[in-house]
Symmetry: C2
Subunit: 396 residues, 2 copies
């Protein structure tokens, strides 16, 4: 992938939505902004490989911070990221070589492309999550030792904050979250600033290309009137965890996050997938059966022969999918809800009663499954007393 | 006043406490820090006049931000202001010429002296309040048009935030307050950064000298076993509003402020002072009798012949003193509570049942009584439906 043109934005938006695991913000508005920047004169945005960035060049990851429930209703002015990058360059007295996508999931995949066009800078193919995560410390740059400061925040009104020195990534998250709330619940973020050498060491490569490929497959399914869920699952080395109808959504916007729970009932007479987490049959990987908790018998009664309700917890992003006490999938593996008909990802801000959906479980990129990474992005980092049992394979 | 030495710190601390109107933080800890910096080798801190600062030199006002209830218990490490100034110099790529005291009230008069000694910079005799105020926009620099940005915050752990561009002083207050809360409820502040020319145009001159003079008078009274309240009132061109015993304190630390109400009962058979705000007899100044509210008859009963209870509202600083519905004094005029015996100011964080006190009302500096200033620091800016009726005279 050498550039992004107007022809690519639909596919990238669809793919980024699917990698967003419910978060990263809606792709709709940022795709409009991106199309707007690309329109006229056959403009294109150059995409470069991480390995082509000189070791001593300066790059920065960018994105939007805040709850997707907010950023969807309180529109950004459209140049927040650009202003934050310019302020950071002025602060450091050094120009950026390229823009890095902080998280490839959701609208946050597209915002950096918009900013890069405004700044006249190329974008590196890759990101630091291979998905979306709710908190700042949850990226491979900081997990693998890149300093969280300096970082910058910018709001819609032109206000800018720069944090030249912050003790830890978690501390940065706390300061930035509180300021984002004060900025109205959404803000543009430049974080971290890193060298080309550190970039090559820590980035998850080729995730922008992956997003585009996923989107192209979905568009192809749509053209051929095929339900895309199976195709997406295959392309992402994952599986369909569940199909059914959303029957309940409990969602609050608290402490700057969209938090809640979702329930999905299966269609008539379907048999739900088996969980990979606690089962009576221990497996050699140490995951199956490790838990003392036995999966409860799946209820066979209920309306229309419902055989079990899938429950998904989310904090901006989908975190854990369960059938009764049986965990089907958990962070950092990807849990994405797509519309059954057209494969469009449904963000946690857009969940509502009655939607007919497929729930996809996809293995995380390998960079998120090391012990250092799991300490930051594993189930326990989100407060779940669950050992991470990876879906087989790697997203990338 | 040309310097501050170890011999001056006690007097300055006492005077700053009295100018603090209950806020600005306790002087105790910052005096210990100041003494520590001055100790050994006859060190002294040079004090310069605002008019001696070159027009194109850069200076910055500094102080502590947060609730005095917090800063008294959660100790600062002691070099927070210094780090914030150094970070600001690095950000601007320009050194500071001198340190400016942001508010002369309370511990915030002394913190800048400590930082100046650590930085090797002189301090200007003056400040931007002539007292203490709870919010950042409430200073003569910003009231008279100095930009609120760039400003910097630093916490005890070495974390630093710089705001290179903020739309308004009120917006700066909101961002800084939320970050101060996240920093544990107290932080060091550098704000604003201004030129020598702007300094001369907007500073309230000679308030450090005034603090020292007040403190020296109090120490003199103590040496002669005289209750100092009358002397302080005279020196500050004010009056004793009330003497009595604290009978009730309602205080909460909310949204980063110490907020509450205080009740003081008069000693046996004393007659309280008459209010200057709403009275039945209209005065030519337009203040007396403007309110339709008639002062209620003062209750003559109660324990020990109590003739009326003084009530003071505070938000870090004392804002309004009332006897029934009769307003005796309101912001920006100074309301300070001192211990009857020794004239030591009692901060809003130190108020407690049973203290025997005098309540002093002192006229604000003239710079706080212009229409521009009253829009920011008058009673209505604090939510009171009261026209400001100044005590006669000016503090300075």
């Amino acid at each position: 992938m050498q550039s992004v043109t107007l022809n690519d934005t639909h596919a990238i938006a669809i793919g980024a939505g699917i990698l967003g695991t419910g978060g990263g913000g809606s792709t709709y508005l940022n795709r409009l902004r991106l199309d707007n920047e690309l329109r006229g004169g056959g403009k294109s945005l150059p995409i470069i490989r991480a390995d082509d960035v000189p070791d001593d060049a300066l790059v920065c990851a960018v994105g939007g911070m805040g709850a997707p429930t907010v950023s969807n209703e309180k529109l950004q002015e459209g140049r927040e990221i650009m202003r934050a990058v310019r302020a950071m360059e002025a602060h450091l007295g050094q120009p950026m070589h390229a823009i890095i996508i902080g998280e490839i999931g959701g609208g946050n995949a597209l915002g950096p492309l918009v900013a890069a066009l405004q700044l006249g800078l190329p974008v590196v193919d890759g990101d630091s999550m291979g998905r979306a995560f709710p908190e700042l410390q949850m990226d491979t740059f900081m997990i693998y030792g890149v300093a969280p400061s300096p970082f910058a925040l910018a709001d819609t009104h032109g206000n800018i904050a720069i944090f030249p020195r912050i003790g830890s990534a978690k501390q940065a998250e706390e300061f930035a979250r509180s300021l984002t709330i004060e900025m109205g619940g959404s803000a543009a973020l430049v974080m971290p600033v890193l060298s080309g050498a550190d970039l090559k060491r820590t980035i998850i490569r080729d995730t922008l290309s992956l997003a585009k490929r996923i989107g192209e497959s979905v568009l192809d399914c749509r053209a051929r009137s095929i339900e895309p869920a199976e195709t997406i699952a295959k392309l992402c080395k994952g599986r369909i965890l569940f199909t059914g109808k959303i029957t309940d959504v409990e969602r609050r916007t608290v402490q700057g996050f969209a938090r809640g729970q979702l329930k999905i009932a299966p269609f008539h007479n379907e048999t739900p997938a088996a969980g990979i987490y606690p089962t009576p049959d221990p497996s050699p990987t140490g995951c199956r059966g490790e838990s003392k908790v036995q999966p409860p018998p799946i209820s066979m009664g209920g309306p229309r022969g419902v055989t079990g309700i899938l429950q998904i917890d989310f904090q901006n992003e989908n975190l854990v999918a369960r059938l009764g006490d049986d965990v089907l999938c958990a962070v950092p593996d990807l849990i994405t809800i797509v519309s059954l008909d057209d494969g469009e990802a449904i963000g946690t801000e857009a969940l509502r009663y009655g939607l007919r959906v497929a729930v996809l479980g996809m293995p995380a990129p390998k960079e998120l499954k090391t012990p250092e990474a799991l300490a930051v992005v594993g189930p326990r980092a989100f407060g779940y007393d669950i050992d991470f049992c990876p879906l087989p394979g790697d997203l990338l």
